[in-house]
Amino acid sequence: MDVTRRKLLKLAGLGALGLTAGKYAKVFANDAFTETTLSEIGTGKRWAMVVDVRKCLVKEDCRECINACHITHNVPNIGNTKDEIKWIWKEDFENVFSDQENHYLKENLKDKRIPIFCNHCDNPPCVRVCPTQATWKREEDGIVMMDWHRCIGCRYCIVACPYGSRSFNWQDPRPFIDNINSEFPTRSKGVVEKCTFCEKRLAEGKQPACVEACKEKALVFGNLNDQNSEVRKLLKENFSLRRKPGLGTEPEIYYLV
């Protein structure tokens, strides 16, 4: 009797395993399918941003772009560096471009803070490491997207990002949002978030919120694949820097200094 009971349990276990395996095969097939259709509908856009540091530094304590972004996207103001969430923020030039180590840096850049964002890399390491495809690069326009419904909060993408561009919700962010914008969701605790290049505004035909907010016109947004776009013109006429280009991530935020 003892043996039959055990056999029964084993059989039940095997059955459960079989059921999961069947489902798994189906999901795998489905997933491969969506991958190909996504790349097929590509329209050949490549969004990028040019930051003209010279114009940005005209007003040093300016926070217009940060405020606009954070209000649009319900980014909470948590008030401590441990738990803080930021989509755009300012850092010392020397830290942003640590690979440009130079004791005799041009005076107008020394100890100056410049805006940084997600670089929307062409070869994003965060996407490579995500175990659930909750973050991925859109083939049609290069935006590195986030799916906050799917993110499990393992924070591997934060670990893999060489730019510190990603933030994690260590707690429910809602109490820390002063004025909730009902047009955009807030996030739940336990998911990662970052700049989305204002993917929603782009779909509505608008420019990113930060670009629109910058009175100095220091932020220029456009399509790199369009020869006549303003970003292409600026890059043609000016010397530009990208953050940590040696890592092969191909950042799509360009800095004019």
Partner: protein, 131 residues
């Protein structure tokens, strides 16, 4: 089977406890009050993206589908079988007509004891106005 007596008694106790809510309801004869939903009143809001029967049973599947299409495929417009176009947005399109979330969504969800986590992130605009 050894210890059969103990096992059978154990199973009976388990079944009794497990089914407690059901037979308690039958014997006490009191059911929870049925939800009383408030529907949109305007004439142009009478027609939903699908029939009421379908929406009642499957709105959660539709929302999940919309969610995936908007977030993962970047498409935002939904065309009904009648050819009407809608933005695939729960807060703008759904709540645009069903503006009373408390009297529409919550009523049924409370009755059925389901807690959709949509509202952890998505904002009910009418609630925001009240604040």
């Amino acid at each position: 089977m050894y210890d059969s007596g103990k096992i059978i008694i154990g199973i009976i106790i388990f079944i009794a406890l497990f089914t407690f809510p059901t037979w308690y309801l039958f014997t006490s004869g009191e059911a929870a009050p049925m939800p009383d939903l408030v529907y949109p009143e305007n004439e142009d809001q009478k027609e939903c993206v699908y029939s009421a029967e379908y929406m009642r049973a499957s709105h959660m599947d539709l929302l999940n589908e919309w969610r995936d299409i908007v977030v993962r495929e970047g498409k935002r417009t939904f065309t009904t079988t009648a050819g009407k176009k809608f933005e695939m947005s729960m807060t703008n399109t759904c709540l645009g007509c069903h503006s009373n979330k408390a009297q529409f969504c919550d009523q049924c969800h409370n009755y059925l004891e389901v807690n959709p986590y949509c509202w952890d992130c998505h904002v009910d605009p009418s609630q925001l106005e009240n604040q």
